[in-house]
Assembly symmetry: C2
Homo-oligomer: 219 residues x 2
Amino acid sequence: MSENYTPTARTRLVREAERAVYDRAAAYRILDEGFICHVGFVVDGQPFVIPTGYGRVGDNLYIHGSAASRMLRNLDQGLAVCVTVTLLDGLVLARSIFNHSMNYRSVVVLGTAVAVQDRSEKLEALRLLSEHILPGRWADSRQPNEKEIKATLVLRLPITEFSAKVRQGAPIDDEDDYGFSTWAGVIPLSMVAGEPVDDPRLMAGQVVPSYAKGYSRVR
Amino acid sequence: MSENYTPTARTRLVREAERAVYDRAAAYRILDEGFICHVGFVVDGQPFVIPTGYGRVGDNLYIHGSAASRMLRNLDQGLAVCVTVTLLDGLVLARSIFNHSMNYRSVVVLGTAVAVQDRSEKLEALRLLSEHILPGRWADSRQPNEKEIKATLVLRLPITEFSAKVRQGAPIDDEDDYGFSTWAGVIPLSMVAGEPVDDPRLMAGQVVPSYAKGYSRVR
């Protein structure tokens, strides 16, 4: 897990190389904090980028959706795909407009997604995907029946060719600008969970489970 | 602005059509609340998806970056592009695993980005992009010099072919499942700003400006 990864020509960062992260464990920490990815694929020369949930299981990413979905039907055919996960950490206010930036952590995975055909692998992938997003929820839910399993397409993308990029900390201004009279610093941003909201049709006596309280992605 | 938009075959939602939003004003509200997009483009048949800041100005999206950036150099050549903006609003916990979902608002814009060549349009686009992300900051910053303007590439994407998708509210379970004994509801999620953090090299006497306090995208 702590191996260093050798980037390919497609994943080596050309610019801002100081932001590059080629350590697999560091990339996995980003993938584990996130749970929404943007999936890029090409149909008739046109790129499409669609947001969807994902889970990391070992050295694979799993995404799922309806077997009727246009996106998944296309990906199922072994198309080249790009899965990008971005965590936004803040706005970076430099003294010069030019050096304004954002703090973020992102991972890009390139490859070919394949549909999981085996029923038990598919069910286990769905369970792990669910556990990735909200640990504890699977066991409390009505389990998938055969019709639902069939109606769900699960795609597996091996995390083989990837890059990660991280920018953190204070603004970096040109040396001449440090005397410019304006505030500089960082506005931290994070995703936070509010109080869980009961379904209006909730059965009497059901209380919010502990895993749904104080939801946070930071481990 | 309140016109209804007629989707193309590429942007009409095939599944979950009840989540489709073809109203331009509604799509613009989503674009105005967001400021990070995921840009998809294709190089040698491989899709790439890169996160970047953007601003909406009228019926155009502007994105910017270094003139040396691999992404922007490619897009500059008039490549087909997909720009996707996603706002995540919550985890939706249904009684059945199958009906779990997320609340979100997203917009997909397809088209061809073009580089802004005219110097004054470029500078104005940068100003409006800055105002989109953090209103008030531009005037307080050291303005771009000629070298910096040249080093910045600004791309304009007309918002011509687009679709928006919104899922909100309570879970929707199969009627048979409403008697299943588990909690159901929504965990609301939102992006929040923390207290601004001073640059360690801040000049004495600089205080956090009002526009940097209580930063929020909700208008």
